[in-house]
Amino acid sequence: MTRSSSEPKNKFSRRTLLKGAAAGGAVVATQGVGGFPTVWAQNTKDVTLVHAGGSYAAIKEIGDQATKDLGFKIVMQAITDDVQLNRSLTQPQTIDINNIDSTKLPYLLGKGAIAPIPVAKYKLWSETVPLFTKGAYPNGTMASTQGLAPIEAMFYADKDAKKLGGKPTEFLTMIPTIYNADTLGIRPDLVGGRDKITSWKDLLDPKFKGKTALVDYAPVGVMDVAMALESRGDFKYADKGNMTKDEIDKTIKIMIDLKKGGHFRSFWSTFDQSVNLMASGEVVVQSMWSPAVTAVRSRGIDCYYVPLKEGYRGWFVGLAPMAHLSGLKLDCAYEYMNWFNSGWQGGFIAKQGYYSAVPSTAKKFLTPEEWDYWYDGKPAAVDIKDPYGTLMEKKGSTRDGGAIWDRMGNIACWNTVMDEDRYLTRRWNEFVSS
């Protein structure tokens, strides 16, 4: 079946999709996403796509639901970041849909690993939050550009797809899917209350000597410290997300002093470690992810994700098809990526604390109470459960930090890849060995 003869069918089905979506209303999460598949089902039932990525996105349930809704098979493979990057370059044919973290994007540019996405192929562009389409918040203010901001990462300069454009063009590097604002998590019961920590500089407070932890990943670890130092007034950075050699030197030097003084209890390399560190009381202040905070809380242990004065550290991930895809497989890839942002996945992920790039579709797969809690920051009208039915928050609690734009609208800097990456790695190794 050639593409041209299937196109009219596509257009017809798209209208059906829009009608179906409009009539959707409050679709319960167990139902599939209506309006799919839009690619002729006969051909696709033998197609299998491998979606490889971090285990926060490459979740089996999502793959199963996609397979059900789309008619072709989606296989999820959960792998760690570094393996994913290396495999994308050395074994690209083992991945079909690449779940890319923004900070890995610069490494993949111009290597022929991933393919650019024409905006037209992404059917939900107009409903995607302006953070990705324009680099602005819904109220119009431009988002911070410290670090690798969405506006800088999302677009290729031109159709050659070799460099980043830094402003909206027709060629996307990836379809944005999941994002969040990260900050410090604390144990209010062990530090004396939720209000004891209000600013990034509290991370370095000697009161918490031996009870702090950061992530064992140079670009992020160093940025967290930079936030703390800037907040403490030590010095000001031109761009915390892209430091000069001099700024790196100054930051690492202070980190070495702190390490020798025993300020850090540990650096964690997996999510699970971060949860255990917090839950066991080994640390009381920690740079961690939102679901980790919920995981600790669901154990019955108090943990608070602090909305710090200076703002959050933001991150985002997306999907990109691998360059080796073509023909029917490529069509299916676009189909799948569109499906991914059409709500089911968004609703699922929301209950882990992550935001969907197209909240309007995710809303259809959340109960009104869940939407209020997760996106609008309103107090929970009922008990809030995670995607697997485990109790996460009791009725009446509010999401730490509030509504989506209270949090995402206060990003101080974005996760990043620095120009001086090589130098940073060297000095980070030095820090570890000191």
Binding site: S266, Q273, N276, S280, G281, R426, N429
Partner: protein, 307 residues
């Protein structure tokens, strides 16, 4: 070693026609026997290593790896003070772990060979020791926190028994924790070869020594120990190479605050800085191979075999 060995000669009878066979009887047969192993290793290790070696001479920018032939990566490696510290750290771990596992391994092997009666019991106790290893390493690493952490059961037991009043912090996320984990993981690698060597010791030798009036300790020191040296050498090779090549244990147990050659290497690979990482790997292999050669100087394992 031109000792007349009727078995070997009989085996290599077909090679008589060739002049080399006289110097190396049975060589043809040995080649055939060792070939499958060598082929597999060449294909899955040798070839890839040539690729890694080539990459170690490449140039690189932040996001590009540029095929070239430069020595910069090696020069930078040798000039950098970090390299020295990393090796010092790794070697320190290797030395301490080696010593501890040797003491533990020797005693355990001795117990199993000389004090446990019955093959069944020996195998049984041995298998008892291997059961924990069938649980994935990752899971066991995770369980160290609830075991040795501030609020872990070990600390709680100590405090409960009144031995300490405060939790011991150094038990976890420290060099101590790293060594404990290494010993935990690698002692068996010392036990197995030593066990095999000890099991071959002719018991009549021990009786003879005792009849000659040697005390228990002297028997061990002067009979058992020397006769187990192949096993000890092999066990040492295992432990040293395992520790030098590790990055996971040191990272997890020290909380990312202790250095090892390979974990630094891993940071570079994660940032796609292949060339310097490759150079580092090549150097590390050379250094550790030299260490192994050193161990083999002391105990010529191959000679023991062919003798």
């Amino acid at each position: 070693m031109a000792i007349v060995n009727p078995a070997a000669e009989a085996f290599a009878a077909s090679d008589r026609a060739e002049p080399e066979a006289v110097e190396y009887p049975g060589e043809r047969a040995s080649w055939l026997q060792v070939a499958p192993l060598v082929v597999v290793l060449l294909l899955f290790f040798g070839l890839p290593m040539l690729v890694v070696l080539a990459v170690s001479f490449f140039d690189f920018s932040r996001t590009e790896i540029i095929p070239a032939f430069i020595f910069d990566n090696y020069i930078e490696l040798f000039r950098s003070e970090v390299t020295l510290r990393l090796y010092a750290s790794s070697l320190k771990f290797a030395a301490i772990v080696w010593a501890v596992t040797l003491v533990l391994g020797f005693n355990i092997a001795y117990f199993l060979v000389f004090h446990v009666r019955g093959l069944l019991f020996q195998i049984g106790l041995f298998l008892l020791c291997t059961v924990p290893f069938l649980t994935s390493n990752i899971i066991r690493m995770i369980s160290w926190i609830p075991f040795l952490g501030r609020n872990g059961i070990f600390n709680q037991a100590l405090q409960g028994a009144g031995v300490t009043s405060q939790p011991l912090e150094f038990l976890l996320f420290s060099d101590f924790a790293v060594i404990v984990a290494y010993v935990h993981l690698f002692t068996l690698f010392m036990v197995v070869p030593i066990f095999n060597s000890m099991a071959r010791i002719d018991k009549s030798l021990l009786e003879a020594a005792r009849d000659a009036g040697a005390g228990r300790f002297r028997v061990v020191a002067e009979v058992v120990w020397p006769l187990s040296r192949t096993g000890i050498a092999l066990g040492s090779i295992f432990v040293v190479t395992l520790v030098m090549g590790d990055s996971f244990v040191v990272r997890t147990m020290s909380g990312g605050q202790s250095a090892s050659v390979v974990s630094a290497l891993q940071n570079e690979v994660a940032a796609l800085q292949y060339p310097p990482a490759a150079a580092s790997a090549v150097i590390m292999v050379i250094i550790v191979t030299l260490m192994v050669a050193g161990i083999l100087r002391v105990v010529d394992v191959r000679k023991e075999l062919a003798g």
